[in-house]
């Protein structure tokens, strides 16, 4: 069996290894992705995003468990930050997901941002495709803890869950634009804490205001109160996710909008990647490695803008 065939048959080792090659930008990984692409498009991709410490991992763990109770297989991609100084990372999302380690219906992969901004990794979309081709029916993507503008998840997931906690009221006000606009479902986790009702009220107001600006897709964002550690509210969250999925299936236009954006992102990213790689190789072959060009900029012999102009004129003729 070829590697791609093994992955489609659900082989964990082959899948895990390809994910690594993708993450490390090994050129040959593209060949496998090409082979796997026809098998993608079946999974429901659910993104979980929110500030650090709001309980994303615990919610993902609980939703994974709930999916398993319905017999759905689950893939999990969990992103943690890379140190900007050493390039190393401690990936700790699995600590909250221990009960799934021996369940062959759950595949978990921890990812490091590796300098990528936006909440995900540059490899996430490709990895979603691999898990999809592997046959996972639900793919849960947990972003790195985000602030206000890391909204990349919305181009990867069918359903985006934005997680917050009580007591961030002022912050909610401050982040009206950006991240607060991307949630299809809002979760107020740790709802046993003081201020939960207030947070929900504020979210409700924000959502109602937002709806006036974007009424086109007909989806009324849902708000769910949870205490993920105790499992409270998980049933409601699970049903909210299902409800959003049903909404997408009933509104093909809305679904196509999401798929369109995802395909566009993937195409543009792949193009950028490949184009840059090719250009750098050609420069190298012409005896003009990147370092030489950088040196010319530092020596004030050239500026970055003219250099790019020259390079593109030469290479893209």
């Amino acid at each position: 069996m070829s590697i791609a065939e093994q992955i489609v048959a659900g082989d964990v080792r082959a899948t895990a290894r390809l994910l690594r090659d993708i993450d490390d930008q090994i050129p040959s990984a593209r060949e496998f992705l090409k082979e796997l692409y026809p098998y993608t498009g079946k999974a429901h991709v659910v993104g979980f995003t929110g500030s650090p410490g709001v309980g994303k991992s615990t919610l993902v763990d609980q939703i994974a468990l709930r999916c398993r109770q319905d017999g759905l297989t689950v893939g999990i991609l969990a992103v943690d930050p890379t140190s900007p100084f050493t390039g190393g990372a401690i990936l700790g999302d699995r600590i909250r997901m221990q009960r799934h380690f021996l369940d062959s219906g759950v595949f978990i992969r921890s990812l490091a941002t590796r300098g990528h901004f936006g909440g995900l990794t540059r490899s996430t979309n490709d990895m979603i495709n691999v898990l999809d081709a592997m046959g996972k029916q639900v793919i849960l993507v947990e972003t790195v803890g985000v602030g206000q503008d890391e909204v990349e998840i919305v181009h990867s997931a069918h359903t985006t869950v934005l997680v917050t906690v009580p007591g961030m009221g002022d912050e909610v006000q401050a982040i009206k634009a950006g991240i607060m606009e991307i949630g299809n479902i809002f979760v107020v986790n740790k709802a046993d804490r003081e201020g939960s009702r207030k947070t929900i009220r504020e979210l409700r107001t924000l959502i109602d205001l937002g709806l006036r600006h974007r009424p086109e897709n007909g989806w009324q964002p849902l708000i769910v109160e949870t205490e993920a550690l105790k499992g409270r509210g998980i049933e409601e969250l699970y049903h909210s996710i299902q409800k959003h999925r049903e909404h997408l299936l009933a509104n093909p236009q809305h679904l196509e909008e999401i798929l369109w954006k995802r395909a566009r992102t993937q195409l543009v990213e792949a193009l950028k990647d490949q184009a840059l790689r090719t250009l750098l190789e050609r420069l190298e072959n012409r005896g003009l490695p990147l370092d030489t060009l950088i040196r010319r900029i530092l020596n004030k012999e050239a500026d970055p803008y003219s250099l790019v102009h020259e390079i593109l004129n030469e290479e893209l003729r």
Binding site: A16, D24, T86, G88, A89, I90, R94, Q98, L102, F107
Partner: protein
Amino acid sequence: MERERKLRILIAKPGLDGHDRGARIIARAFRDAGFEVIYTGCHQTPEQIVSTAIQEDVDMIGLSILSGAHTYSFPRVLELLRENRAEDIAVIGGGIFPLEDIPKLKEAGIKELFEPGAKLQDITSWVSENVKPRKALDV
């Protein structure tokens, strides 16, 4: 512009003792050495450890143990790796071991053992020298 592959390491605590200060410190030292460390917390069974190592495609497993259960859990991890055709994943140990157990564990296939007092720098250097990221898949 191929980047160098990053070393991926699983730090796990098998067995019942919940003292994970050492595991956390070594995880942090590996992070500072530029490795990607998957940390899974305490009370892991060998089965959970090996399953995680395979899903995360790590190059090495570091087992931290203080309870004395290494005579069971270390060989069991190696055995499970073999059963899963994953014996290329290196296994090292850290913690407290009776001196007479060390040769036995090494003979069983544990690549290196670090006892209390081992310098973090020595441990990370050992890893850099002895554990290499695996090769890419062949098309």
